[in-house]
Symmetry: C2
Subunit: 199 residues, 2 copies
């Protein structure tokens, strides 16, 4: 019997390869996500789409949370960072936050996941965090308040994205950050860098 008899992608037996890769799994997950929202991403559904047994996914992804974290983090990889030696650190922060906002809007279905998992924790998230901390320091934020300030900015941004994303009437779902976001961002930055008046 020649191999062509089985070329048509029929049911595979144990051992037969499907040619899966981590990248393919993540890509498929992204597709599912963009089609049906966050709740529709199940391991079994993903496996079905890839024409593979559910367990096969675990060769490329260690758990569903791992998958989710990977998706979150490589979305964060799309966030544009300012040139390192930029003159004004506040502008740098503005750049990061508005870029983050845009990326979140473009991947709206991931926003609830971000909320639930309280942000991401992968390499890109860490990279952005370190960058933000440095800029906050350069902008004059007290050392003891740097981490808190970063968190406030992140929460504010994710919150705004969640808001822009959740409106039933899709008013302004453009990826351009709305004026209100830019404004409130400035207010926050102003407050953070202002010398403390009391206490």
């Amino acid at each position: 019997m020649n191999a062509e008899d089985f070329d048509a992608t029929g049911p595979r037996g144990p051992g037969q390869r499907a040619g899966l890769t981590r990248g393919a799994v993540l890509d498929a997950a992204r597709t599912v996500l963009s089609e049906g929202g966050a709740g529709t991403l199940t391991m079994r559904g993903l496996a079905r789409r890839l024409e593979v047994a559910p367990n096969a996914l675990y060769s490329h992804v260690s758990s569903r949370d791992d998958l989710l974290d990977a998706l979150l983090d490589d979305v964060l990889g799309l966030v544009g960072v300012p040139s390192p030696g930029l003159a004004d650190p506040l502008d740098g922060i503005r750049t990061i936050m508005t870029s983050t906002y845009s990326v979140l809007i473009e991947h709206a279905v991931l926003v609830p996941v971000f909320l639930v998992r309280q942000g991401a924790r992968g390499v890109n998230a860490v990279r952005l965090g370190v960058l933000m901390d440095a800029m906050l320091r350069r902008a004059g934020v007290e050392e003891s308040a740097v981490a808190e300030a970063r968190r406030v900015l992140i929460v504010h941004t994710i919150g705004f994205a969640a808001f822009s994303t959740a409106v039933d009437t899709p008013v302004g779902r453009s990826a351009d950050p709305p004026r209100a976001f830019l404004r409130s961002l400035d207010w926050l930055l102003t407050g953070m860098t202002a010398p403390r008046s009391r206490r």
Copy 2:
């Protein structure tokens, strides 16, 4: 055989009452929630705790989401509202938001639920929403922007609560809203009520 033989709460047969009420179910749910976090609240676990078959809960609660909504909404019932004829509508909004913040912090485990369900929708939520809208109008927010302004305030508050709640090192989990929250609240209010400069 006299009734006392079965007084010890042994296994019930079909038909035997357990004396459950909606209030008892909600109370037990609150307990579970405060002990183990949001993910630990399952219908079966709840039933086990109440020594009842899982289905019994559905006589008092129409679904898990219904349960969650009820919990969310009666937490919102704890939010203190300002006296209706208050002079300064901005003060009224401040009161509502800081009270909401405190209530959320006191029920930290519910905050992720709030996030996922994008706020609550029960009677108390509606009541607060109507009140906020009225005050925003009185504060000079344009009619077309009232709903959006309300949402921004809510998102900002929930976001802050999520932030204060999520810190690994439990820094300042006091129910008093942190200064940063009060500040940013004022900034937002200022921006919302300021006459539009451009566009």
